[in-house]
Subunit: 221 residues, 4 copies
């Protein structure tokens, strides 16, 4: 095992400076935007202790991505975590992550942040209970039905639900792309550590500017 | 987001010193041992560039665990990665992880390390193709049929297949326990970063000594 | 292929008279009750053309089962089908089954029949979109977390969602038991044909009386 | 429930005569051929009591389909059932279907019928353990990676593994098409009963001639 005195942030920066080793997946025939758990209990840093902020422009940038996808008829999905019977339908996960016990269906904690521009007529809103957006949800068949082969992922946490979603996406034959300024975490070490791991193993990590440029090449409806 | 100049190793050590915040899952009614990808291309550091070594006693300790599980009739599972048609059944994953293209079914790269003590009559050997041991394999129904509610995980890489397996395990209602000296990675930052994340979010991280003590409390056959 | 001039009803009756060949799964350590799609559009035969009635006592018998399970702390699950964006999240399935296009989330078609005695504090209510209750829902992890190894299945249709659920249950390592008077279908041939197939291949088919007798052997809370 | 004195064969014939009600899925952008369990224990009627024959030309017709798919670069998949530890990795299913206990990996029972023309360099061979070809196998990600949206299904049994595969296919957003002369079952009632149910609910049932005509419209490589 290679040893190192560098932080996760430094290692990610070095990987980025080497252009991620050059092995990029690229965009496929039809991307979707998959926004993970941008709900109050994770986005309202002043209000909930479970919330965090990485890039202050995260929600604004996510709105920009969503508008670009929507304009081209590309699917936009928003997931959120909520439980009907906290403690009884949270599995053992809530032993580790106790804040899940407070995230009841219909609560303010579970509600998507109002600063997001969500088109209720077009976008898909999906309840999830575990880390990956694919786990025991209809995201898989939804993307298959819409012939999606690429997922641009935003939201949080980088080291939690975003990463679990990215691993599941690539395992199911989809190309995951992480919109760098749109993912957030509580602490910089898991944040940059997961960006590093995802860029190495599973996903392209791209600045929003580059994602928008790529989406701009799909035909407007 | 909390900033820090600490390395992933330091952060994991601090978390460990605080006894992981005290939120442990514990062992359930029936554990299984799930050994991830202890195959030559990951364990023979002198022979394959894709291999790595973290704790030199990893395989020996894993053998010790396997013997303890077997003596109590608790299931022992060994997974390995292999492809019949590298490039055609590897999905997009092999764009990122090019060594997968060389890991053909029946090859020396795919074979489990001969230093492992595998009981072919009792243990289950499972081919997998993606990161998680649960993804598109029969590990899920196998563990359900054997009434397993706890999985002790070994193997590698810590930040790749071990972590993906742990996330899937907790998502499916199982208690994951990582045997610390038995997991390995290429670089210390993803190794300790993933131990930190797993201990925080998904799993108990325990020294082999403690795993053996807990397994010792299940009745010998 | 064996030819025959018998109807599905006759063949099922013959199989039953031979005690299903004697190969019964039996009850395991912990059963759950899984009630499939007992929602107005399938139960209100006078109101919806998609509805059907087989045994007039179906709902009453199902209530009796639910009470028996609840009294013993055994999980009771009620599923229903509903879509947020009919036509866009129904997949290709709605091309075949056009009534799905009318089954919107929150509609009377989607609501569970009010004649059912549902304990909102204890029972689990699960939205599904496809035939099997396990497909892209959290029924799998829910049952795992509650250590369920046996599922008693009621609801409809026998040849559709009940059968798909039973096939998935046995495939995941659970013992499916069909409560005979509590499953219903539109036409007798698929109804009895699926009872025959399930009894042969996947499940025990038992009268409610026998299910109640077996549940009676689990300790009351 | 509609009552009837007609056999499953008669009801299927009537449905066919009404052109299946006219609600056909049709072929999508890219079909794959999915051949279910055409292994000796199900195809060698003279040799194994678990085998059955419906149309004597089944294998020949299946070879014809496979050649047409292959000529156009469309994926061809052959599944088979086998167990490494019969009784220990067969779940509860083998209590119902005892012949599974004899179907060991590497046995003649598990081997694909030699009369099949399989192109080992091009075709995918997939081991399965449960009824559906998608259940705990990599068929899902394989089809996703090859951008398949339509599956033509052959093999057996019609009421067992073919039907379970068809239900899973449509549930995952794929269009299932059953090649009528290429599916077989032990007894005519479950055979025609499942053709009837699949045609009504989940799949197009087409004669091989029509499947070949449709495949003929995809470009030859």
């Amino acid at each position: 095992m290679e040893t190192s005195s560098k932080t996760a942030r430094q290692l990610f920066q070095e990987l980025k400076d080497r252009n991620y080793g050059g092995r990029q997946l690229g965009f496929g025939a039809r991307p979707a935007l998959l926004n993970i758990d941008l709900q109050n209990c994770y986005t309202r840093a002043g209000e909930f202790s479970s919330a965090y902020e990485t890039d202050p422009a995260q929600l604004e940038q996510t709105n920009r991505l969503a508008a670009a996808f929507r304009a081209r008829g590309l699917p936009v999905v928003w997931t959120y975590i909520a439980y009907s019977h906290p403690g009884r339908d949270t599995g053992v996960w809530s032993v580790k992550v106790t804040s899940l016990l407070e995230t009841a269906t219909g609560s303010r904690r579970a509600a998507l942040d109002e600063r997001l521009h969500i088109d209720l007529a077009q976008d898909f809103i999906v309840q999830k209970r575990m880390a990956s957006a694919f786990h025991e949800t209809h995201v898989g068949s939804l993307l298959a039905h819409h012939k999606v082969d690429t997922v641009v992922v935003t939201g949080g946490s980088t080291s939690g639900c975003v990463r679990a979603t990215v691993v599941d996406a690539v395992s199911r034959g989809l190309r995951p792309i992480v919109a760098e300024e749109c993912v957030a975490d509580r602490h910089e070490s898991p944040h940059f550590g997961s960006l590093y791991d995802m860029a190495q193993k599973y996903a392209d990590v791209l600045p929003v500017r580059e994602v928008l440029a790529s989406i701009g090449r799909y035909p407007v409806l």
